[in-house]
């Protein structure tokens, strides 16, 4: 139930249906976007793929925020508070 991998949408199906070709490190597979119909991804978006279906769009911003937070570990508590004040961490 848990193996899901990030892939990039490189092509939409010609028939206009909800399938797209997604690429993971050079491996390509057609994926069903039906579970994302309320917020359809566009070409170049990254989605989480599980059993041939896209489960969620991946937020590049959140990924960057996460890495920034982690890289700041070990900095002083004051620096951490400052960073939090920028509003980078969202609920």
């Amino acid at each position: 139930m848990c193996l899901a991998i990030p892939g990039k949408i490189i092509e939409f199906a010609a028939d206009g249906g909800s399938r797209a070709t997604v690429e993971v490190a050079g491996v390509r597979r057609k994926v069903d976007l039906g579970l994302l119909q309320e917020d359809m991804p566009v070409l170049g978006d990254w989605v989480l793929i599980h059993v041939g279906f896209a489960m969620s769009k991946i937020s590049e911003q959140d990924a960057v925020d996460q890495m920034n937070t982690l890289r700041m570990l070990g900095e002083s508590e004051q620096a951490m508070q400052e960073v939090r004040g920028y509003g980078l961490e969202r609920e």
Binding site: M1, C2, L3, A4, I5, P6, K8, V24, A25, D32, G34, L35, L36, Q37, E38, W46, L48, H50, V51, G52, F53, M55, S56, I58, S59, E60, D62, A63, D65, Q66, M67, T69, L70, R71, L73, G74, R90, E91
Partner: protein, 375 residues
């Protein structure tokens, strides 16, 4: 690989592990349960236990849909494969799981048409390509996978594919967590929440764990930095005396879940009144069945399914290991009568089951007397 490699960065992992050591109170022994089998697998694959302090213990939870599937259900599914008209399809995870007459792969070796699929949509395609055969899809998984099965049934109906049915063994995660918390021997401090199930159900369904049970739960991704960051967040909560639901896996998990996925699930499935979980017994409202409106695509309506019940050997202590009361090596059968090659109980049949994972990746490391790491 984007969105993967960053979260395996060794330098940042070292930093985060150090933060965990800083936050963990040396006078306490922490017990965190990771609910999901995928997390169990990740913890072993990335060797995370080696970098956690000794007083932070990870207990493996019941979120392994293959592990908790009763043997009788495998027999039921395979009984249909005997019909030469039927093509039995399932995920690779199922292929070596033993029924009483052998595993799906063993049935294949005996001449039955058993095929691995990566997606339920591949099983549907197989049905379209083989109009004179019936394709049966053995559906397993928690809420991560159920929406994909649901959407496939909807597509089958929309495209008028009648030679396709789903043998539905989807289970839901919340009752499993409840069973853990209801267990009298349970001694857990917090939960590492299932990241991919949460992409569907969101984070709200866990609120009772924080509010009523007063346990922190942090929904976590599956890369090393995700799991380690989730542990950091749990430790922060515990230091502050808090218990709340937090989302570590923000880049992927929406707090409100995936409405379209929940809608598809609701349209195609309904909850069974009860379902048997291997190792945990019968749990009410814990599993899905195909709704009557989709009878045509429900294997259990299209075919007579024997309904076999097979008990595990009494000596197998799967239930206690599942609930985190016992460690795999503490079960009397572990590594002797029960190994990944001849599994006797739930947790050896799948590579992400606690016992199999421990056996495959870890227990021979106990013989390691000294391991000097590269600087």
């Amino acid at each position: 690989m984007k969105f993967v490699d960053e979260f395996r960065d060794a330098a940042v992992i070292n930093k985060t592990a150090e933060e965990i050591r800083r936050l963990a109170d040396p006078s306490r022994h922490y017990r965190f349960m990771e609910v999901c089998g995928g997390h169990t697998h990740a913890i072993y694959r990335f060797g995370l236990k080696d970098i956690l302090p000794d007083n932070v213990e990870l207990i493996h939870g019941p979120g392994c849909p293959v592990c908790v599937l009763p043997m009788g259900r495998i027999d039921d599914g395979l009984s249909l494969a005997k019909d030469p008209n039927v093509i039995f399809t399932a995920f690779g995870d199922m292929m070596r799981v033993p029924g009483t007459q052998g595993s799906p792969l063993e049935h294949k070796a005996r001449g039955m048409d058993v095929r691995i699929v990566y997606s339920p949509s591949d099983a549907l395609k197989l049905a379209q390509l083989n109009p004179d055969r019936h394709v049966m899809f053995f559906a397993i998984g928690f809420e991560t996978t159920a929406p994909s099965t649901a959407l496939t049934v909807l597509r089958a109906r929309a495209e008028g594919v009648r030679n396709f049915s789903v043998f539905c063994n989807h289970v839901t995660i919340i009752p499993a967590i409840r069973a853990i918390l209801d267990s009298p021997d349970m001694r857990l401090d917090a939960f590492i929440g299932p990241g991919h199930v949460s992409t569907v159900i969101g984070c709200r369904p866990y609120e009772w764990i924080a509010k009523d049970e007063r346990k922190p739960i942090v929904v976590s991704g599956f890369e090393p930095l995700d799991i380690l960051q989730a542990i950091v967040m749990i430790l922060h909560q515990m230091r502050a005396g808090e218990a709340k639901v937090e989302n570590q896996y923000k880049r992927v998990v929406p707090w409100e879940g995936n409405r379209a996925a929940l809608k598809a699930m609701g349209e195609v499935f309904q909850l069974r009144p009860y379902f048997e979980w291997r190792g945990l017994g019968f749990i009410s409202q814990s599993a899905l069945r195909v709704r009557d409106t989709f009878d045509e695509w429900d294997t259990e309506q299209r075919f007579r399914v024997p309904g076999v019940r097979v008990a595990d050997p009494k000596a197998a202590q799967c239930g206690e290991v599942l609930k985190g009361v016992l460690k795999p090596a503490q079960c009397k059968l572990f590594g002797k009568e029960c190994t990944p090659e001849h599994p006797l109980g739930a947790l050896m049949v799948s590579s992400e089951g606690s016992c199999a994972a421990y056996f495959n990746y870890e227990h021979r490391k106990a013989a390691l007397t000294s391991l000097s790491w590269p600087a």
